[in-house]
């Protein structure tokens, strides 16, 4: 066996990264493995970025418990890790009397969950707070502790802080099977070799069911991916009056199609929720686009199709696990457990919404579970909970910008015109504790290529920078890892051409 760890975490999405970060506080050898070419490429990079107040989850479920614990942790964790976060409050908007009844239910549910400060407001009040809201709104639920964050930065920040504190991260490393001794897990077999461990944490998101089944755990648990499509609007053309999330009244399908501000300055519309058969099916569909667009227009009639600049879809890891409390009739709850049928597994499953909100709380729960299983968790004396965010040029004032460029000239070269992203930031991402080694990884970290021209200007430049920094030919630069090359060959390297000239007469 090549190497042995105390804990191996499968999956470097927001949950796995938060688990790694919280566990890194203790004297444990930790390995975080991720099958993709970068962290956070799954659900963590395709969601609404909401940090939910907690009125939506059914009281007593794991979802509710971790949502409530999580939303209370976000102010501090975002400061410690340098994650953009704004507790701006959110609204659930009613258009009919039936909707108002649902809002009352949400209010009660929220109170039962311990959500502070909620209030039902009138249509008139709603229109005052957000003049762009549909004019016939008859009321709304206001939740001041709801907020928005930046899931891309959050995942990177948590994972980087873990690395700073000694966690090993291995990308392009896919879990394949458990190594077992009887019914005790002794390690994992991956695409990059075998690793021993005493504990495995299953944070595999969409694939958590496949992972746990390999250990014979919960054979009836199944993740059925539900796709959510999103549209992003041009920040120069479309702005809400203040940062917030506007939810419609929820239905059995879920929280519904929202219109929200993002902390990158855009307005986002979406998501819908449709089951797909394939855990890699993140296709945009024309029906889906129409669906989310009409949902968006219902909330904010003034949104204009001409202002759409980006589209993407994410997959929710929707499971079928019952809530731990048998009194509660709910079958789509989070799994957060140490199962009994095997030894050495901390099992997390079905982490869909409010998973992002709950992620730091889930991490805390994992620590508790390990402690209650007899793990002696000795704190590292030099554990550093602080991860400094790297400089973000466009967020600095003129004076700070001038100083930064004087110190590091690479920050004086703008590579992404639309979002004002500098070469300095790109280099910082390539040389970060968890390096960004392809175009999309840089895009997630720096926000380049997400603006109006969608990478049209920056891509040739980023390819050159990546090639130079990684010491590879430009043809080996990929969009998102193996199998996604951007360029095929040099212009003049032709094996076989297909030039045929036709006589026109």
């Amino acid at each position: 066996m090549a190497q042995s760890y105390d804990v191996i975490i499968i999956g470097a999405g927001i949950v796995g990264s938060m688990v790694a970060r919280f566990l890194s506080k203790y004297q444990l050898d930790i390995l975080l493995i991720e099958k993709e070419s970068d962290i956070g490429m799954g659900t963590s990079s395709a969601n609404s970025a909401a940090v939910h107040a907690g009125y939506d989850a059914l009281p007593g479920t794991n979802k509710a418990i971790t949502n409530m614990l999580g939303v209370e942790m976000w102010p501090q964790i975002s400061k410690e890790l340098g994650i953009p976060y704004e507790r701006c409050g959110d609204y659930v908007v009613a258009e009919s009397k039936e909707d108002l009844a649902v809002l009352e239910e949400l209010l009660e549910r929220g109170k039962e969950n311990g959500v502070p400060g909620m209030a039902l407001i009138s249509g008139e009040e709603m229109r005052q707070r957000e003049p762009l809201i549909r004019p016939d709104t008859i009321g709304a639920l206001w939740a001041p502790t709801g907020g928005i964050s930046d899931p891309f930065t959050a995942t990177v920040a948590a994972a980087e802080n873990a690395v700073m504190n000694g966690v090993t991260v291995m990308l392009n490393t896919a879990f394949e099977d458990f190594l077992m001794d009887g019914n005790t897990i002794t390690g994992v077999h991956t695409s990059q070799g075998d690793f021993g461990c005493r504990w495995v944490v299953n944070a595999a998101g969409l694939f958590a069911d496949d992972v746990m089944h390999k250990a014979g755990v919960r054979p009836n648990f199944e993740i059925r991916p539900r796709r959510g499509e999103y549209l992003i609007l041009d920040k120069a053309e479309c702005q809400l009056t203040q940062n917030t999330i506007l939810f419609p009244t929820p239905s059995s399908k879920g929280k519904g199609i929202l219109v929200a501000a993002t902390l990158h300055g855009n307005v986002i519309v979406g998501p819908n929720a449709n089951f797909v058969n394939d855990k890699s099916d993140k296709d945009m569909t024309s029906e889906g686009t129409e669906e989310i667009w009409s949902g968006g227009k219902k909330l904010v009639p003034s949104v204009n199709r001409k202002h759409i600049i980006a589209e993407f879809a994410g997959l929710r890891a929707t499971g079928n696990a019952a809530a731990p409390d048998p009194e509660i009739d709910y079958h789509q709850d989070f799994i957060i457990e140490i199962p009994e049928v095997v030894k050495g597994l901390v099992n997390l499953g079905g982490i869909e919404s409010p998973g992002f909100t709950a992620s730091p709380a889930i991490a805390v729960k994992v620590v508790e579970l390990l402690r209650s299983a007899g793990e002696e968790l000795v704190e590292k004396p030099d554990w550093n909970p602080i991860r400094e965010a790297p400089p973000v040029f466009r967020h600095m004032d003129k004076q700070q910008q001038a100083e930064l460029v004087a110190k590091e000239p690479a920050y004086g070269r703008i590579v992404c015109r639309c979002e004002t992203v500098t070469e300095g930031e790109i280099l910082a991402a390539i040389h970060a504790p968890i390096p960004a080694t392809n175009y999309d990884a840089i895009k997630r970290r720096t926000w380049l290529g997400t603006g109006r021209c969608q990478g049209g200007f920056d891509m040739p430049r980023v390819v050159n920078i990546l090639a130079e920094e990684l010491g590879i030919p430009p043809e080996e630069v990929t969009k998102k890892g193996e199998g996604s090359p951007l360029l095929y060959r040099r212009t003049k390297d032709v094996q076989q051409d297909h030039i045929v000239v036709k006589d026109l007469i």
């Binding site: 993140k282 600049i309 004086g412 040739p460 951007l486 040099r490 030039i499 026109l504």
Partner: protein, 424 residues
């Protein structure tokens, strides 16, 4: 490097180069071009095909050659140039904030500014193309940059969406450099680029163009594997039973250009929603005093020669403004898009200018007329003050008409001028 300039020009494509030359020739002493790329020339540097200079030089030059002619002139005229530099902000008071690796943060003051930032390309997201988001989806211009300047082929087997000139030019270019161009799809029932390009880029090389067809879906998770083509009706709705999977590894989008006016907006420049460029008068001055605009940033041109001419006009106006702190204006009247005209540039005309020089109007037709047409400029009473016969009117080809000084008397009583194009 100074901190005060008479004229600062943003962009060194044909519009910016011409403006710089004209500014110097009309008395501006300190003229600066700020260019975000590492060399002057703008988009012309990657347009390596012939077709440039037919109007102004009676020659058929490649883009880079046309550019170099003006780049050499800019150098001869003692214009200062700053390259690899991005303008971050401009104010209505004509302060220019730019950033550069070596010089750091620049805070410059201009007496006049010429905006010449050109266009960006319409993206996949803006046309809401369904399907996965693999590597291998490029706008034609970005692909052109890779193939012609950076020296890389973005793929082996291409489908091109859009029969605009960039798409057709790239079809030929890719073929010459050994790639396969499987199909060109055009959603409209007619060609949107020049017939000459259809013949010399597609027919010559046996590349199939299909009209009424578009991409229904992109297939391939990590890299493009195929596109699903479909026929559409006049409302752009898919026609059942017409889907076709076309295996390929690259999809090139040639679906339109959008003038790049983010900086303009920051300076309070008002944009025409039809052109997506600034409202300009016949000196190409915007609504903000002292801020001019020339080239593709104003409207999407089809002939570079007219861009150069516009740049000369804007540069001259900028120099005059810089020297006098204002421009003498006579009575200004609006130029209105009339029958079958989508837009007219410039948007208004200073009557007194016609005393000395002609004013060139540029228009686009809405609906094609494949027959002899008459373009007329009529005043508010329907009196024709200028007219021009053309062999046809096509939306993809700009109509141009110069109002000559001889029309000076005729327009003195006009309160507005409307441009129309009708079948003769």
């Amino acid at each position: 490097m100074k901190s005060n300039y008479d004229v600062i020009i943003i962009g060194s494509g044909p519009g910016g180069l011409a403006a710089a030359i004209a500014a110097r020739e009309n008395g501006a002493d300190d003229v600066l071009i700020i260019e975000r790329d590492i060399e002057l020339g703008g988009i012309l540097l990657q347009c390596i095909h012939n077709g440039f200079g037919l109007q102004l030089f009676n020659e058929d030059m490649p883009g880079p050659t046309y550019a170099q002619y003006y780049i050499d002139k800019v150098k001869d005229h003692g214009v200062e140039t700053l390259m690899d530099t991005m303008v971050l902000d401009i104010t209505p008071q004509r302060e220019v904030f730019a950033i550069n690796k070596d010089l750091g943060y620049l805070d410059l003051q201009a007496k006049a500014i010429v905006l010449a930032m050109g266009c960006r390309e319409r993206t996949r997201a803006q046309i809401l193309l369904p399907g996965a988001r693999p590597a291998g989806v490029y706008t034609a211009g970005t692909a052109q940059r890779f193939v012609n300047v950076e020296g890389h082929m973005p793929g082996n087997k291409f489908v091109i969406l859009g029969s605009g000139d960039i798409g057709m030019i790239m079809a030929r270019r890719l073929t010459i450099e050994g790639a396969e161009v499987e199909r060109v799809l055009e959603i409209m029932p007619y060609l949107t680029g020049l017939t000459r390009n259809y013949v010399q880029c597609l027919l010559d090389y046996g590349i199939t163009l299909q009209k009424h067809r578009t991409v229904n879906r992109i297939i391939g998770r990590d890299r493009v594997e195929a596109i699903e083509a479909v026929t559409v009706d006049e409302k752009w709705q898919p026609v059942p039973g017409t889907k076709e999977i076309i295996p390929c590894d690259t999809l090139l989008l040639s679906v339109g250009l959008i003038p790049e006016n983010e900086l303009s907006k920051k300076a309070g420049v008002l944009l025409d929603p039809v052109t997506n460029g600034p409202f300009v008068d016949d000196r190409f001055m915007t609504n903000v005093p002292g801020i001019f605009a020339a080239g593709n940033v104003v409207q999407v041109y089809d002939l570079v020669d007219w861009v150069t001419e516009a740049g000369f006009t804007a540069g001259k106006g900028a120099a005059q403004f810089a020297l006098s702190e204002k421009l003498e204006t006579g009575e200004e009247i609006p130029l209105i898009a009339g029958e079958n005209i989508r837009y007219v540039v410039p948007h208004k005309l200073d009557k007194s200018h016609l005393a000395e020089e002609q004013v060139r109007l540029q228009m686009r037709a809405i609906v094609p007329i494949e027959d002899r047409v008459l373009v007329t400029v009529e005043d508010q009473n329907g009196e024709v003050v200028a007219k021009k016969g053309e062999a046809y009117a096509r939306p993809g080809e700009i109509l141009t008409l110069a109002i000559k000084p001889k029309a000076y008397e005729a327009i003195q009583k006009a309160t507005s001028l409307t441009v129309n194009v009708r079948k003769r």
